[in-house]
Symmetry: C2
Subunit: 596 residues, 2 copies
């Protein structure tokens, strides 16, 4: 079984030394989130995650969730319920929620750090409270006043949890195809009927009530995505005064049998004329859903990061203690039968790959969250608008790259363990299975890639990319005379320029042939992610040098950056060449010729 220790030093480095969180938050009017409070939250969240949640990670994998078919009730793994009660008791569910609904009003950036630690400790468990965040966001933005009063306080307090009910068997990426119906009742409520699948935390025993936000079609709905409305549909009915009523006509019909996250209940939810209330305008449900989804997508990116961090901790510990073969230059531990495998260059390649992608990815995500906060809280309207543009652009990169890197990280960790990585005992194979979901839900990697190159680049004329590149150029200019980063800046500058050129190139081709966008999307996504990480590694070195951290810490950041530029960044060569080859090699083959 693997342990988990919250990476407090690197979290503090990201927040304080690189992103200057305290002054950033103060400039947004969030003075309460000062350095002292940030550190206190990190420390306490780290303690809770490591001591309460981490030991339940293997338990959840082993026990899974149990559905009582007779009642439709779901029992979670031993210890999950008690841990959730402690989480609620500690006030963690309301950390970033608005004070008017009982929250603590902390920045989402700090909420991200909490999420990383909770998810690293126990990804399955983390999904129960996580989904409430999206439900709160949707109701806060689109709910009627009585809906806010009735639902938000218990959701923020954690006594209730939330879900997002989107997917149906025949409608995943293409939500316009969904069939769930909403019939108006005389009392202003609606009767919701239909089947939703893949509903995370759709049923469980952790909370008093479960608030489902359900996409459905009204009788007069126009066809396709413009005919979708959003309904709040609780497990136990809630009246307009917020009183809990009888059981609603919805239940869990089955639990999915999954590759991983066994401790999380992934439900088929059947709505049989369940009472729901319209949230927002009729037929505008998709818009509200995107509010939930964008925040959820950033959150899933952080889940990926969390699995990478835990893989890192497991692999590093093993590589240091596993004695096997001798170092290439001769024995290091002459009194032992063999040397630790960390002496092997190829083991170091695997370890440093995890380290570079994880620590760099942490900055990529944390930066996106600071923009999320700025988009909401900054005093200046232009700053808010730019931050919103930037976080929208970064969201698919964070979601897709951090989750794909978690596949690579957990994979490398398994390889470091050799055959021991394949058996349950050491916990590495669970990480690999659990991490896998993050590349699939809230939109697959391919969907994120399309979102990045389509909506977030082509549609907006590259507005988000321009903002990001301006930041990169500003950093390069500001560090022109800084010897600490002199070796990185020419490469970074060239890659940033190439990023812009490749973007123009693909958008020009797409203007002639719409297939060019999808054809380039996947390579464009990773190209973007790797160049963005090159920026964060250069900034890490600059920030470390300017910090009060010990020399060993500074040296490690420098060496990891060098590794990144030498060994990972060259992947951009392949992605650039591949995307420049255009759509023809993908589209030429007739669908009938693919095979028998």
């Amino acid at each position: 079984m693997s342990n988990y220790t919250a990476p407090l030093t690197d979290l503090r480095f990201a927040l304080h030394d690189v992103l200057k969180a305290e002054s950033l938050f103060a400039a947004m009017g969030l003075e309460d989130a000062n350095a002292e409070l940030i550190d206190a939250v990190l420390e306490e969240a780290g303690r809770f995650s490591g001591s309460v949640l981490a030991p339940l990670n293997a338990t959840g994998d082993e026990h899974g969730c149990k559905l009582d078919k007779a009642t439709g009730e779901v029992t979670t793994a031993p210890g999950f319920k008690e841990a959730y009660a402690q989480f609620v008791e500690g006030g963690w569910t309301g950390l970033t929620a608005a004070p008017e609904f009982g929250g603590q009003g902390m920045p989402e950036t700090l909420g991200m750090a909490l999420s990383e630690m909770v998810s690293a400790a126990n990804l399955s468990w983390s999904l129960f409270p996580m989904l409430s965040h999206g439900a709160v966001e949707a109701l806060k933005h689109y709910g009627e006043d009585w809906q806010k009063d009735a639902f938000l306080k218990p959701l923020v307090a954690g006594n209730w949890t939330g879900t997002m009910c989107l997917t149906e068997p025949h409608a995943g990426t293409d939500l316009g195809l969904l069939k769930t119906r909403a019939e108006p009742n005389d009392d202003g409520s609606y009767s919701i009927t239909g089947t939703k699948i893949f509903i995370t935390a759709g049923e469980h025993d952790l909370s008093e009530n479960i608030v489902h936000l359900v996409l459905a079609k009204l009788p007069d709905a126009p066809p396709g995505p413009k005919g979708i409305s959003l309904f709040v549909t609780p497990k136990y009915k809630v009246d307009r005064s917020g009183n809990l009523g009888e059981r609603n006509a919805l239940r869990c019909g089955a639990l999915e049998h999954k590759m991983g996250i066994h401790g999380s209940s992934t439900c088929v939810m059947n709505f049989d004329g369940a009472q729901g209330y319209l949230v927002g305008q009729p037929h505008k449900g998709l818009q509200a859903m995107f509010v939930m989804m964008n925040s959820a997508r950033l959150g899933v990116g952080v889940q990926g990061l969390s699995q990478s961090e835990r893989a890192w901790q497991g692999a590093l510990a093993y590589a240091r203690e596993r004695l096997q073969s001798r170092a290439p230059k001769g024995a290091l531990l002459a009194d032992k039968p063999a040397d630790p495998i960390i002496a092997q260059p190829d083991v170091r390649r695997m370890l440093l790959t995890i380290k570079a992608l994880t620590e760099g990815g942490r900055l990529l995500a944390t930066h996106a969250y600071t923009q999320l906060d700025a988009a909401q809280h900054a005093g200046d309207a232009k700053v808010r608008a730019d931050a919103d543009t930037l976080v929208s652009f970064l969201t698919p990169i964070v979601k897709a790259c951090l989750t794909e890197w978690s596949i690579e990280a957990t994979y490398n960790a398994q390889q470091c363990f050799g055959g021991h990585g394949y058996i349950a005992e050491h916990g590495m194979e669970q990480l690999a299975r659990d991490a896998r979901i993050t590349t699939l839900y809230e939109g697959t990697t391919g969907i994120q890639a399309l979102d990045l190159i389509g909506r977030k680049t082509a549609v907006s004329q590259g507005a988000g990319l321009k903002l990001f590149l301006a930041e990169v150029e500003q950093f390069i200019a500001a560090n022109a005379g800084n010897p600490a980063v002199a070796e990185f800046l020419p490469v970074l500058g060239a890659k940033a320029q190439e990023w812009g050129k490749l973007t123009i190139d693909v958008l020009q081709r797409a203007a002639v042939n719409p297939e060019e966008l999808g054809a380039a999307s996947w390579d464009y996504l990773f190209y973007s992610g790797y160049v963005a990480l090159a920026y964060w590694w250069a900034r890490s070195v600059a920030a470390a040098q300017a910090s009060a951290h010990p020399e060993g810490f500074k040296q490690a950041k420098l060496e990891t950056a060098r590794f990144y530029y030498a060994r990972i960044l060259p992947r951009t060569l392949a992605h650039a060449a591949s995307m420049q080859s255009g759509a023809e090699p993908l589209m030429a083959m007739d669908a009938t010729r693919f095979g028998a």
Copy 2:
């Protein structure tokens, strides 16, 4: 649940059209393996795999193996035993074995095709007969006459199965560290005592006896790998006349709880003074084990291929039937609510990646097996020696690349399925979990990479590479005027030349610093694999054009080759740049600086 249909057309294409198997075998004196017989074997093996083994694949995953702790006996999943009886009945266990021991003397190349189909249908099940092959090889080469008589016939007939007992808890890659002891008895046998782990098919209920080939140390053994001897140690004792005796003092102590291949019994085997017989010379056991291991490594490469093929079949079927969103250029099926996702460029990228790596990988492996046959059967000593050099060189490439590509193939298949790829129902997640073992056992990918660049390149002065490049150059020269492949040859020629240069470059650096080998190994492995595949794709196009296959088949090979050169081969750019950055970025960091 996914189905499996043996890819007979592509298997025939590889054997007949590309590799000209019939004349190749005839030149080795294996005239019995004519085209008609090859086709009959392919067809019958395909039928058996698809109809008997494939339906048991999910069963094995669900039921796993059960150990009776009281008796140490293992029960396999429902249907496994009956399927094995049919396999034995059909004579499949002896397909490639020598006729003097009851085998059919067919080429290993044909055995590979059988293995691919059996493994694709049911990887877990395939491991029970597979391990016998290595035991037969070791006994055939190193066994005393009475050992051959006693053990080989029942192993070849399939009434007994074999195992390889190498790994111990503290000794995996570094077998020199093993602790299992062999004490001489008065009757010429030895008493074996120790614990072996990760023993595939170590205990099961399919066969009458299980023949363990065990690495152990004699009392006078020199330390390290030069002190290892090999012993044949059956579950039921066997006397020098081949009579089955009482139960030997060895038993299964536990079954590993694994990520996948649940239907295969992976055993902890305890030897408590078990009676064994020395195979070959004292202290020369590692040499005998390498005979088993090299053949096993090629076999594991084929297992990787098999999982890629099954992933391909699942993903293609789903991409053709799943209706979601519209094609980029507008509706294809205007009367349906959406178009099949195979219309999406990025879905095609995933499918074509699987197709290119699988069909190309099939040729890479089949070619290696033809060299294995030539090394054994060719009339000319120089041809035999060259073939042996070439297959030794190709073995780590086949093992590592085909298994790593199976990770990519099963991954892409899951992504094509979206969230449905994560649940058990469609079978894709099982493939991903099962394929994962192939990159770990018989030496991890990192170990293969070291074998390729070290023993198979540096030690032999690039002898294997020179043979392979000579073949590539010969192909280029022979096709200089062939318009079918004109677009590929310049790129292939340049890459082949670069492969040679990169090799010289890294060997020169390694002469100064031994860390350079390990530092370059992983990138060198993949660089080699991708250039080798470029050769096989060019040859595929040439062979398809010259064949009697329908136009659609020829066109599909051409389009897949174009995809490969445009979208996959550019990965060599990243691998070349990365390996040229040298050891410094990997070795600079002191082990203490990696993290807390």
